[in-house]
């Protein structure tokens, strides 16, 4: 039996080895977190040069603001569309990738490529591709469907376009995990089903999805975080929250409140609330999925 050797010699050495990680976490995560919470209890003027303690006033004004209610509602709707849309589209693509025999790695690279693109770059490129009057995709879509895309001025269309782009951007990440999960399923299960003549679709939802469930839960959580936090560049570059507040997601609204309207205290309160919403959602997702998940 190989002898177990500790990678460090004393408590002090262990502490020193952990120090860089803790230093980064404290400097960039815990300290800003605490500061944000402190700031959320204050009224700030002139970019935070003057502060006064106002207690829970910022929170009260948030919960009574109809603009905030609206932003909350569309953020939740946006997250639901993005999470479900991403999972469904990725599952479809991943299943095809899993089943294809020839050139599978080429297809895989093609499918995950969008994920390698920085979000801001993707947003700028798609802004042109989907531009209501100049976009080549818009042109094709309009000639195929006979409708006219006016998402610069049409709220629901703008919401749909941003959600679509958000889904497209997140596909690669989901597909990597799903293909890996599918490949982890013993091949003899597939073969056994082939002998029984089980159809592809039935196989997917009766065997593969249940066996992939731990990965799917993980992806639901990651996609939720993505939909709430990481879609900021898309909104910023494509719609700036408009038209008519249709894409004014919480993450974008708090940025505007902080840096356009210089209301740092209020924006900090929004940050704290957003954090709480996502934390609660994640907790609920993990608890709910526990009973459905098969850890083989």
């Amino acid at each position: 039996m190989p002898e177990f050797t500790k990678p460090y010699e004393s408590r002090w050495q262990a502490f020193l080895l952990l120090l860089p990680t803790f230093a980064v976490l404290i400097a960039f995560l815990y300290y800003p977190g605490v500061e944000t919470f402190r700031l959320s209890l204050q009224q700030t003027i002139l970019l935070g040069t003057r502060k006064t303690f106002v207690g829970l006033d910022n929170y009260v004004s948030l919960f009574t603001s109809s603009a905030y209610h609206w932003s909350f509602a569309i953020s939740v709707a946006f997250a639901a569309v993005v999470v479900i849309g991403t999972l469904a589209a990725s599952l479809f693509v991943a299943y095809l990738l899993f089943q294809v025999d020839v050139g599978s790695s080429t297809y895989l690279i093609a499918a995950i490529w969008p994920y390698a693109l920085p979000t801001a770059v993707a947003a700028s490129v798609l802004l042109f591709l989907l531009h209501p009057s100049l976009g080549i995709i818009t042109f094709v879509l309009e000639s195929l469907t006979g409708t006219s895309l006016e998402w610069f001025t049409n709220g629901p269309q703008a919401f749909a376009i941003v959600a679509l782009v958000a889904i497209w951007k997140q596909l690669g990440y989901n597909i990597i995990f799903m293909v890996a999960a599918l490949n982890n399923i013993p091949e003899t299960l597939t073969e056994s089903a082939k002998l029984d003549g089980v159809g592809h679709l039935k196989m997917l939802y009766r065997v593969y999805v249940p066996l992939m469930s731990p990965t799917l839960v993980f992806l639901v959580v990651m996609n939720t975080i993505y939909a709430f936090f990481q879609t900021f560049p898309l909104v910023d570059l494509m719609t700036s929250g408009g038209p008519n507040e249709a894409t004014n997601l919480l993450i974008f609204k708090l940025y505007r409140d902080a840096f356009e309207f210089s209301n740092l205290g209020l924006a900090s309160a929004e940050s704290v609330v957003l954090f709480a919403i996502v934390a609660i959602l994640m907790y609920v997702q993990l608890r709910l999925s526990e009973s459905y998940t098969t850890y083989a």
Partner: protein, 379 residues
């Protein structure tokens, strides 16, 4: 129940020929075992019959139907895998039903009835509501076998089904499989690398090597009359001793010459014309200490290099010239490494192989049954 006809079956993977022109007829209701070392093509052959691998060339017929191009589900087969291939999120009963429900011509009642029957045959009614991770290896394999028999297939394929079980359970399951085969009476093809399993289970055993069939025969025939040197050494444990000899014929008969002995071969007239190198094969249990051989018999000397007590016997590694042979002596014999002992052989149990490895002589001629003559005539 169906018979299976395999004609010139070949499987090519890129530049490797995994199965090379195999021809074989399997009778309806027969239990045929494919045995051979890793990579001999036995599993590939089974998978081609199942339809999980495409057939490069040759023809496969199940019953009267050519099935080369048929999808697995249309071949009326069921397969049991080495790793059981149970769906981990389904209970035993759900596992057994899942495939049945895809074959849509059964009603729910029929399916329940069949699952219940299969569970009774396999003695697992209490396991039906448990999931695979709550079952032991043997129980899982029983559920997997149950899943195969509920479909009442014409052909039953088993790919090393006992290899993941511990030794004791393996012996028990072996007996159960035989009993099950008698009960359901389906044509059964069984793949294993374990020659004991092959010998105990098969009505006939097909020994494969390098993608080709070396010999297909009932177990005892395979043991007593190996058609090739490969079969001789593969079947039987410890393996048959094979030493190089020169065949030497004169007026009195033919003898096998080795630097350590000159052994007269009884009734070896056919070998008189054979010149050049050959090998002599004799099983460890057919070599014995000279004192146990009848008075006038021919004997030779050997030096013991290693002794292995096997419990029921003592296995001796003996040097004769540069070659080592294994000898099974009585347990508790007073023999130690370094001793020089006098050995004799059972003259009715000698085999000679030519340079290409084909058997050219068995000292007791193989009795030809009517069936044998028939199969020989076919070839």
């Amino acid at each position: 129940m169906s018979d299976i006809h395999i004609d010139g079956l070949t499987k090519q993977f890129d530049d490797v020929t995994a199965v090379d022109d195999i021809s074989l007829d399997i009778d309806s209701g027969e239990f045929l075992v494919f045995v051979g070392p890793s990579g001999c093509g036995k599993s590939t052959t089974l998978r081609m019959i199942a339809g999980l691998e495409s057939i490069t060339s040759g023809e496969l017929r199940i019953g009267e139907r050519r099935v080369n191009e048929l999808a697995p589900k249309e071949r009326s087969i069921a397969m049991v895998f080495q790793n059981y291939a149970l769906y981990p999120h389904m209970t035993g009963a759900e596992n057994m039903k899942f495939g049945m429900k895809s074959v849509s011509d059964y009603t729910d009642d029929e399916i329940d009835e069949r699952v219940r029957e299969a569970a009774e045959i396999l003695d697992i009614p209490e396991l039906l509501e448990r999931k695979p991770k709550e079952l032991s290896g043997g129980e899982r394999q029983r559920v997997a076998i149950g899943r195969a028999i509920v479909r009442e297939p014409d052909v039953f394929l088993l790919d090393e089904p006992l290899s993941n079980l511990d030794a004791k359970l393996r012996v028990q399951m072996r007996a159960e499989l035989l009993q099950l085969h008698r009960e359901i009476d389906a044509t059964t093809l069984y793949v294993t690398h374990d020659q004991t399993e092959a010998m105990t289970l098969g009505d006939r055993v097909a020994v494969l090597n390098d993608g080709q069939i070396e010999q297909v025969d009932p177990p005892q025939v395979l043991y007593d009359y190996p058609a090739t040197r490969f079969v001789a050494e593969f079947i039987g444990s410890p393996a048959m001793n094979v030493v190089p000899i020169e065949l030497h014929g004169d007026g009195d008969g033919v003898s096998a010459r080795h630097e350590a002995f000159d052994l007269p071969l009884p009734d070896a007239g056919d070998l008189a014309g054979h010149s050049g190198g050959a090998s002599l094969g004799v099983r460890p249990e057919d070599v014995s200490l000279a004192r146990n051989v009848d008075g006038e018999r021919w004997t030779f000397e050997a030096e013991v290099s290693v002794t292995e007590p096997l419990g029921e016997s003592l296995l001796l590694h003996c040097l004769i010239g540069d070659d080592e042979i294994h000898v099974k002596a009585e347990a508790r014999s007073e023999i130690n490494a370094g001793d020089v002992i006098e050995l004799g052989v059972d003259e009715e149990r000698l085999h000679v192989f030519d340079e290409s490895g084909d058997a050219i002589y068995h000292s007791s001629p193989r009795e030809r049954t009517a069936e044998d003559v028939e199969t020989r005539a076919e070839h």
